[in-house]
Amino acid sequence: MATPTLEKADMAPEPEAGFADSPYITATFRIRRFNPEVSDEAQWQDFQIEIDPKERVLDALHKIKWETDGTLTFRRSCAHGICGSDAMRINGKNRLACKTLIKDLNPEKPITIEAIKGLTVLKDLVVDMDPFFQAYRDVMPFLITKGNEPTRERLQSPEDRERFDDTTKCILCAACTSSCPVFWNDGQYFGPAAIVNAHRFIFDSRDEGGEQRLEILNDRDGVWRCRTTFNCTDACPRGIEVTKAIQEVKRALITRRF
Protein backbone atom coordinates (compact mmCIF):
# COMPACT_ATOMS: atom_id res chain seq x y z
CA MET A 1 0.00 0.00 0.00
CA ALA A 2 1.17 3.43 -0.79
CA THR A 3 0.34 5.37 2.33
CA PRO A 4 -0.19 4.54 5.96
CA THR A 5 -3.67 5.99 5.79
CA LEU A 6 -4.70 3.48 3.14
CA GLU A 7 -3.02 0.70 5.06
CA LYS A 8 -5.05 1.52 8.08
CA ALA A 9 -8.29 1.56 6.11
CA ASP A 10 -7.42 -1.93 4.94
CA MET A 11 -7.18 -3.36 8.44
CA ALA A 12 -10.09 -5.00 10.17
CA PRO A 13 -11.89 -2.57 12.43
CA GLU A 14 -10.40 -2.91 15.91
CA PRO A 15 -12.13 -0.88 18.56
CA GLU A 16 -9.21 -1.24 20.98
CA ALA A 17 -6.52 -0.33 18.44
CA GLY A 18 -6.73 3.40 18.94
CA PHE A 19 -6.49 2.99 22.69
CA ALA A 20 -3.52 0.64 22.59
CA ASP A 21 -1.62 3.05 20.36
CA SER A 22 -2.33 5.92 22.70
CA PRO A 23 0.84 7.80 23.53
CA TYR A 24 -0.57 8.61 26.96
CA ILE A 25 0.85 7.15 30.15
CA THR A 26 -0.11 7.62 33.76
CA ALA A 27 2.65 9.44 35.59
CA THR A 28 2.89 10.55 39.19
CA PHE A 29 4.16 14.04 39.98
CA ARG A 30 5.24 14.44 43.59
CA ILE A 31 5.24 18.18 44.23
CA ARG A 32 6.56 20.01 47.28
CA ARG A 33 3.70 22.30 48.33
CA PHE A 34 3.96 25.28 50.65
CA ASN A 35 1.32 27.89 51.39
CA PRO A 36 2.07 30.23 54.29
CA GLU A 37 -1.55 31.32 54.36
CA VAL A 38 -2.56 27.81 55.40
CA SER A 39 0.34 26.15 57.15
CA ASP A 40 3.92 26.87 58.18
CA GLU A 41 4.99 23.47 56.92
CA ALA A 42 5.72 22.31 53.42
CA GLN A 43 4.57 18.87 52.33
CA TRP A 44 4.71 16.54 49.37
CA GLN A 45 1.57 16.00 47.33
CA ASP A 46 1.14 13.38 44.62
CA PHE A 47 -0.73 14.09 41.40
CA GLN A 48 -1.47 11.27 38.99
CA ILE A 49 -2.16 12.47 35.49
CA GLU A 50 -2.38 10.99 32.04
CA ILE A 51 0.09 12.60 29.78
CA ASP A 52 2.15 12.01 26.66
CA PRO A 53 5.71 11.35 27.90
CA LYS A 54 7.01 13.36 24.97
CA GLU A 55 5.57 16.43 26.67
CA ARG A 56 7.52 18.51 29.14
CA VAL A 57 7.31 18.82 32.91
CA LEU A 58 5.88 22.31 32.38
CA ASP A 59 2.99 20.80 30.40
CA ALA A 60 2.33 18.45 33.31
CA LEU A 61 2.31 21.39 35.75
CA HIS A 62 -0.11 23.24 33.47
CA LYS A 63 -2.37 20.20 33.26
CA ILE A 64 -2.40 19.87 37.04
CA LYS A 65 -3.02 23.57 37.58
CA TRP A 66 -5.67 23.90 34.92
CA GLU A 67 -7.50 20.63 35.44
CA THR A 68 -6.88 19.40 38.98
CA ASP A 69 -5.66 21.99 41.45
CA GLY A 70 -5.70 25.66 40.55
CA THR A 71 -3.81 26.59 43.71
CA LEU A 72 -0.58 25.04 42.43
CA THR A 73 1.79 27.98 42.09
CA PHE A 74 4.85 28.23 39.87
CA ARG A 75 6.54 30.77 37.61
CA ARG A 76 6.72 30.50 33.87
CA SER A 77 6.61 32.99 31.12
CA CYS A 78 8.04 32.07 27.72
CA ALA A 79 7.64 28.29 28.06
CA HIS A 80 10.55 27.92 25.62
CA GLY A 81 13.76 28.11 27.64
CA ILE A 82 14.41 31.80 27.13
CA CYS A 83 12.99 33.81 30.03
CA GLY A 84 14.56 31.79 32.84
CA SER A 85 11.55 31.85 35.15
CA ASP A 86 10.83 28.16 35.66
CA ALA A 87 14.01 26.72 37.12
CA MET A 88 13.04 24.06 39.65
CA ARG A 89 14.47 20.98 41.31
CA ILE A 90 13.14 18.04 39.30
CA ASN A 91 14.10 14.57 40.55
CA GLY A 92 16.73 16.25 42.70
CA LYS A 93 18.38 18.15 39.86
CA ASN A 94 17.93 21.79 38.92
CA ARG A 95 16.38 22.15 35.48
CA LEU A 96 13.95 24.26 33.51
CA ALA A 97 10.50 22.65 33.58
CA CYS A 98 9.97 23.87 30.02
CA LYS A 99 13.08 22.10 28.71
CA THR A 100 12.69 18.78 30.53
CA LEU A 101 10.85 16.00 28.72
CA ILE A 102 8.90 13.61 30.91
CA LYS A 103 10.26 10.58 29.03
CA ASP A 104 13.79 11.57 30.06
CA LEU A 105 12.87 11.35 33.75
CA ASN A 106 11.85 7.70 34.12
CA PRO A 107 8.09 8.30 34.50
CA GLU A 108 7.66 4.76 35.91
CA LYS A 109 8.58 6.25 39.27
CA PRO A 110 7.08 9.38 40.84
CA ILE A 111 8.72 12.52 39.48
CA THR A 112 9.61 14.89 42.31
CA ILE A 113 9.32 18.62 41.78
CA GLU A 114 10.35 21.20 44.37
CA ALA A 115 11.49 24.81 44.54
CA ILE A 116 15.17 25.60 43.92
CA LYS A 117 17.23 25.58 47.11
CA GLY A 118 18.98 28.38 48.97
CA LEU A 119 16.29 31.01 48.39
CA THR A 120 13.18 31.74 50.47
CA VAL A 121 10.20 29.71 49.30
CA LEU A 122 7.21 32.07 49.06
CA LYS A 123 4.62 29.60 47.79
CA ASP A 124 4.90 26.12 46.25
CA LEU A 125 7.59 26.46 43.57
CA VAL A 126 7.97 30.24 43.75
CA VAL A 127 11.07 31.59 45.53
CA ASP A 128 12.23 35.07 46.44
CA MET A 129 14.80 35.93 43.76
CA ASP A 130 15.92 39.24 45.33
CA PRO A 131 19.18 37.96 46.88
CA PHE A 132 20.04 36.34 43.55
CA PHE A 133 19.52 39.55 41.60
CA GLN A 134 21.31 41.55 44.31
CA ALA A 135 24.46 39.50 43.65
CA TYR A 136 23.92 40.05 39.93
CA ARG A 137 23.67 43.83 40.41
CA ASP A 138 26.74 43.84 42.66
CA VAL A 139 29.03 42.70 39.81
CA MET A 140 27.92 45.63 37.61
CA PRO A 141 26.57 43.65 34.64
CA PHE A 142 26.63 46.51 32.13
CA LEU A 143 29.13 48.02 29.70
CA ILE A 144 31.57 50.40 31.40
CA THR A 145 33.70 52.69 29.22
CA LYS A 146 35.86 55.74 29.68
CA GLY A 147 36.17 58.82 27.54
CA ASN A 148 33.82 60.17 24.91
CA GLU A 149 31.18 58.05 23.32
CA PRO A 150 32.13 57.00 19.78
CA THR A 151 29.97 58.33 16.96
CA ARG A 152 29.53 54.85 15.51
CA GLU A 153 29.13 51.28 16.64
CA ARG A 154 31.82 49.83 18.93
CA LEU A 155 33.34 47.26 16.61
CA GLN A 156 34.80 43.98 17.80
CA SER A 157 36.68 41.23 15.97
CA PRO A 158 35.05 37.78 15.79
CA GLU A 159 37.94 36.42 17.90
CA ASP A 160 37.35 38.99 20.62
CA ARG A 161 33.64 38.22 20.54
CA GLU A 162 34.36 34.50 20.78
CA ARG A 163 36.33 35.02 24.00
CA PHE A 164 33.18 35.51 26.11
CA ASP A 165 30.57 33.92 23.83
CA ASP A 166 29.70 31.14 26.27
CA THR A 167 28.75 33.47 29.11
CA THR A 168 26.52 35.68 26.93
CA LYS A 169 24.00 32.81 26.83
CA CYS A 170 22.90 33.17 30.46
CA ILE A 171 19.16 33.65 31.03
CA LEU A 172 19.43 34.31 34.78
CA CYS A 173 17.34 31.31 35.76
CA ALA A 174 19.32 30.75 39.00
CA ALA A 175 19.59 27.00 38.36
CA CYS A 176 23.36 27.21 38.87
CA THR A 177 23.47 29.43 41.95
CA SER A 178 20.73 27.43 43.68
CA SER A 179 22.60 24.17 42.99
CA CYS A 180 25.78 25.40 44.69
CA PRO A 181 26.41 23.94 48.18
CA VAL A 182 28.47 26.98 49.19
CA PHE A 183 25.52 29.24 48.33
CA TRP A 184 23.12 26.97 50.26
CA ASN A 185 25.16 27.53 53.41
CA ASP A 186 26.11 31.15 52.93
CA GLY A 187 23.98 33.48 50.85
CA GLN A 188 26.72 36.10 50.97
CA TYR A 189 28.65 34.14 48.32
CA PHE A 190 28.12 35.82 44.95
CA GLY A 191 27.26 32.48 43.37
CA PRO A 192 27.94 31.13 39.88
CA ALA A 193 25.38 33.21 37.97
CA ALA A 194 26.81 36.54 39.16
CA ILE A 195 30.32 35.36 38.27
CA VAL A 196 29.15 34.18 34.83
CA ASN A 197 27.68 37.61 34.16
CA ALA A 198 30.81 39.36 35.43
CA HIS A 199 32.85 37.09 33.15
CA ARG A 200 30.72 38.21 30.22
CA PHE A 201 32.02 41.78 30.66
CA ILE A 202 35.48 41.13 32.13
CA PHE A 203 36.49 39.35 28.91
CA ASP A 204 34.71 41.77 26.55
CA SER A 205 37.37 43.78 24.69
CA ARG A 206 35.04 46.81 24.51
CA ASP A 207 34.57 46.99 28.26
CA GLU A 208 36.85 48.95 30.58
CA GLY A 209 35.37 48.03 33.97
CA GLY A 210 37.06 44.62 34.14
CA GLU A 211 39.50 45.67 36.84
CA GLN A 212 36.66 46.89 39.07
CA ARG A 213 34.71 43.69 38.62
CA LEU A 214 37.78 41.56 39.29
CA GLU A 215 38.34 43.50 42.50
CA ILE A 216 34.73 42.81 43.56
CA LEU A 217 35.12 39.09 42.89
CA ASN A 218 38.49 39.03 44.71
CA ASP A 219 36.45 39.64 47.85
CA ARG A 220 35.88 37.22 50.74
CA ASP A 221 32.55 36.23 49.14
CA GLY A 222 33.87 36.15 45.59
CA VAL A 223 35.41 33.48 43.34
CA TRP A 224 37.73 32.07 46.01
CA ARG A 225 34.76 30.49 47.77
CA CYS A 226 34.14 28.29 44.73
CA ARG A 227 35.07 24.66 45.52
CA THR A 228 34.83 23.35 41.98
CA THR A 229 31.96 20.95 42.64
CA PHE A 230 30.64 21.38 39.06
CA ASN A 231 27.01 21.39 40.28
CA CYS A 232 26.54 24.68 38.40
CA THR A 233 27.83 23.31 35.11
CA ASP A 234 25.57 20.26 35.47
CA ALA A 235 22.57 22.46 36.24
CA CYS A 236 22.87 25.12 33.55
CA PRO A 237 20.04 24.66 31.03
CA ARG A 238 21.97 26.75 28.51
CA GLY A 239 24.96 24.42 28.60
CA ILE A 240 27.26 27.18 29.79
CA GLU A 241 30.55 25.87 31.18
CA VAL A 242 29.93 27.72 34.43
CA THR A 243 32.75 26.20 36.48
CA LYS A 244 35.20 26.94 33.67
CA ALA A 245 34.09 30.58 33.60
CA ILE A 246 34.67 30.84 37.36
CA GLN A 247 38.15 29.33 36.97
CA GLU A 248 38.93 31.82 34.19
CA VAL A 249 38.08 34.68 36.53
CA LYS A 250 40.34 33.12 39.19
CA ARG A 251 43.13 32.83 36.65
CA ALA A 252 42.66 36.44 35.54
CA LEU A 253 42.95 37.54 39.18
CA ILE A 254 46.14 35.54 39.71
CA THR A 255 47.84 36.61 36.49
CA ARG A 256 46.91 40.21 37.27
CA ARG A 257 49.01 39.98 40.45
CA PHE A 258 52.00 38.02 39.18
Partner: protein, 157 residues
Protein backbone atom coordinates in the same frame (compact mmCIF):
# COMPACT_ATOMS: atom_id res chain seq x y z
CA UNK B 1 -6.94 12.06 36.61
CA UNK B 2 -6.24 12.70 40.24
CA UNK B 3 -9.17 12.70 42.58
CA UNK B 4 -7.18 14.28 45.39
CA UNK B 5 -7.80 17.80 46.48
CA UNK B 6 -4.98 20.09 47.48
CA UNK B 7 -3.12 18.48 50.37
CA UNK B 8 -2.84 21.75 52.23
CA UNK B 9 -6.17 23.13 51.13
CA UNK B 10 -8.25 22.21 54.15
CA UNK B 11 -7.15 22.22 57.75
CA UNK B 12 -9.18 20.82 60.61
CA UNK B 13 -10.60 23.27 63.13
CA UNK B 14 -9.71 26.93 63.21
CA UNK B 15 -6.75 27.64 60.99
CA UNK B 16 -3.58 28.86 62.65
CA UNK B 17 -2.59 30.90 59.61
CA UNK B 18 -4.68 32.76 57.06
CA UNK B 19 -4.39 35.47 54.43
CA UNK B 20 -3.96 38.27 56.96
CA UNK B 21 -1.75 36.23 59.21
CA UNK B 22 0.59 34.14 57.03
CA UNK B 23 3.09 31.69 58.45
CA UNK B 24 6.71 32.81 58.67
CA UNK B 25 8.78 31.80 55.67
CA UNK B 26 12.17 30.14 56.07
CA UNK B 27 14.93 32.51 55.07
CA UNK B 28 18.21 31.11 53.74
CA UNK B 29 21.34 31.56 55.85
CA UNK B 30 23.14 34.92 55.56
CA UNK B 31 21.01 36.31 52.74
CA UNK B 32 22.58 38.90 50.42
CA UNK B 33 20.88 42.28 50.52
CA UNK B 34 21.65 45.78 49.32
CA UNK B 35 23.34 46.33 52.68
CA UNK B 36 25.87 43.52 52.19
CA UNK B 37 29.25 45.18 52.81
CA UNK B 38 31.47 45.74 49.80
CA UNK B 39 34.79 43.94 49.46
CA UNK B 40 37.78 44.39 51.72
CA UNK B 41 40.23 45.07 48.85
CA UNK B 42 42.90 42.70 50.10
CA UNK B 43 44.34 39.67 48.37
CA UNK B 44 44.16 37.44 51.43
CA UNK B 45 41.62 35.00 50.01
CA UNK B 46 43.59 34.71 46.77
CA UNK B 47 46.81 33.91 48.60
CA UNK B 48 44.97 31.43 50.84
CA UNK B 49 43.56 29.72 47.74
CA UNK B 50 46.99 29.57 46.08
CA UNK B 51 48.59 28.31 49.28
CA UNK B 52 46.12 25.38 49.40
CA UNK B 53 47.15 24.24 45.89
CA UNK B 54 50.91 24.80 46.34
CA UNK B 55 51.13 23.27 49.82
CA UNK B 56 48.97 20.38 48.55
CA UNK B 57 51.50 19.59 45.82
CA UNK B 58 54.41 19.63 48.27
CA UNK B 59 52.41 17.62 50.82
CA UNK B 60 51.88 14.82 48.31
CA UNK B 61 55.65 14.19 48.32
CA UNK B 62 56.19 14.86 52.03
CA UNK B 63 53.20 12.89 53.37
CA UNK B 64 53.45 9.92 51.00
CA UNK B 65 57.22 9.74 51.63
CA UNK B 66 56.60 9.95 55.35
CA UNK B 67 53.98 7.18 55.30
CA UNK B 68 56.23 5.00 53.17
CA UNK B 69 59.21 5.35 55.51
CA UNK B 70 57.22 5.06 58.72
CA UNK B 71 54.75 2.32 57.85
CA UNK B 72 56.02 0.28 54.90
CA UNK B 73 59.79 0.07 54.53
CA UNK B 74 62.07 -1.81 56.93
CA UNK B 75 59.54 -3.90 58.81
CA UNK B 76 56.74 -1.37 58.89
CA UNK B 77 55.28 0.26 61.94
CA UNK B 78 56.86 -2.16 64.43
CA UNK B 79 60.32 -0.65 63.95
CA UNK B 80 59.23 2.80 65.19
CA UNK B 81 60.56 3.57 68.62
CA UNK B 82 62.60 6.16 70.43
CA UNK B 83 65.79 4.91 68.79
CA UNK B 84 64.28 5.10 65.30
CA UNK B 85 63.14 8.69 65.80
CA UNK B 86 66.43 9.67 67.38
CA UNK B 87 68.30 8.15 64.46
CA UNK B 88 66.33 10.07 61.86
CA UNK B 89 66.41 13.41 63.65
CA UNK B 90 70.18 13.15 63.89
CA UNK B 91 70.16 14.14 60.23
CA UNK B 92 69.34 17.77 59.33
CA UNK B 93 67.64 16.49 56.16
CA UNK B 94 64.96 14.58 58.08
CA UNK B 95 64.67 17.45 60.55
CA UNK B 96 63.87 19.79 57.67
CA UNK B 97 61.52 17.24 56.09
CA UNK B 98 59.51 16.91 59.29
CA UNK B 99 59.60 20.65 59.94
CA UNK B 100 58.26 21.41 56.46
CA UNK B 101 55.62 18.73 56.82
CA UNK B 102 54.58 20.06 60.21
CA UNK B 103 54.23 23.64 59.03
CA UNK B 104 52.62 22.90 55.69
CA UNK B 105 50.16 20.29 56.97
CA UNK B 106 49.20 22.45 59.94
CA UNK B 107 48.68 25.63 57.93
CA UNK B 108 46.99 23.72 55.12
CA UNK B 109 44.69 21.88 57.50
CA UNK B 110 43.99 25.03 59.51
CA UNK B 111 43.13 27.02 56.41
CA UNK B 112 40.93 24.17 55.21
CA UNK B 113 39.09 24.17 58.54
CA UNK B 114 38.80 27.96 58.36
CA UNK B 115 36.98 27.46 55.05
CA UNK B 116 34.73 24.85 56.60
CA UNK B 117 33.91 27.15 59.55
CA UNK B 118 33.16 30.06 57.22
CA UNK B 119 30.83 27.76 55.31
CA UNK B 120 28.90 26.21 58.13
CA UNK B 121 28.94 28.55 61.15
CA UNK B 122 26.05 30.89 60.46
CA UNK B 123 26.17 33.19 63.47
CA UNK B 124 28.92 35.81 63.55
CA UNK B 125 29.83 35.00 67.15
CA UNK B 126 29.99 31.26 66.63
CA UNK B 127 32.16 31.78 63.59
CA UNK B 128 34.51 34.12 65.41
CA UNK B 129 35.03 31.87 68.45
CA UNK B 130 35.42 28.68 66.43
CA UNK B 131 38.13 30.38 64.40
CA UNK B 132 39.86 31.69 67.53
CA UNK B 133 39.88 28.14 68.91
CA UNK B 134 41.28 26.87 65.61
CA UNK B 135 44.04 29.51 65.44
CA UNK B 136 45.04 28.92 69.06
CA UNK B 137 45.28 25.17 68.54
CA UNK B 138 47.23 25.67 65.32
CA UNK B 139 49.77 28.10 66.78
CA UNK B 140 50.23 25.88 69.84
CA UNK B 141 50.81 22.72 67.78
CA UNK B 142 53.13 24.38 65.28
CA UNK B 143 55.26 26.01 67.97
CA UNK B 144 55.41 22.90 70.16
CA UNK B 145 56.31 20.71 67.18
CA UNK B 146 59.00 23.12 66.01
CA UNK B 147 60.45 23.29 69.51
CA UNK B 148 60.64 19.50 69.76
CA UNK B 149 62.28 19.10 66.35
CA UNK B 150 65.03 21.60 67.22
CA UNK B 151 65.59 20.78 70.87
CA UNK B 152 65.25 17.01 70.66
CA UNK B 153 67.82 15.35 72.89
CA UNK B 154 68.59 11.70 72.04
CA UNK B 155 70.29 11.21 75.42
CA UNK B 156 67.31 12.23 77.52
CA UNK B 157 66.48 9.85 80.35
Amino acid sequence: MSTETSAIGDVEGSALYDVDNPAPVIEPPRKRTGKTPKGSRTNFEMYAWLFMRLSGIVLVVLVLGHLLIQLVLDGGVSKIGFAFVAGRWASPFWQMWDLAMLWLAMLHGANGLRTVINDYAERDNTRFWLKMLLYTATVFTVLLGTLVIFTFDPNIR
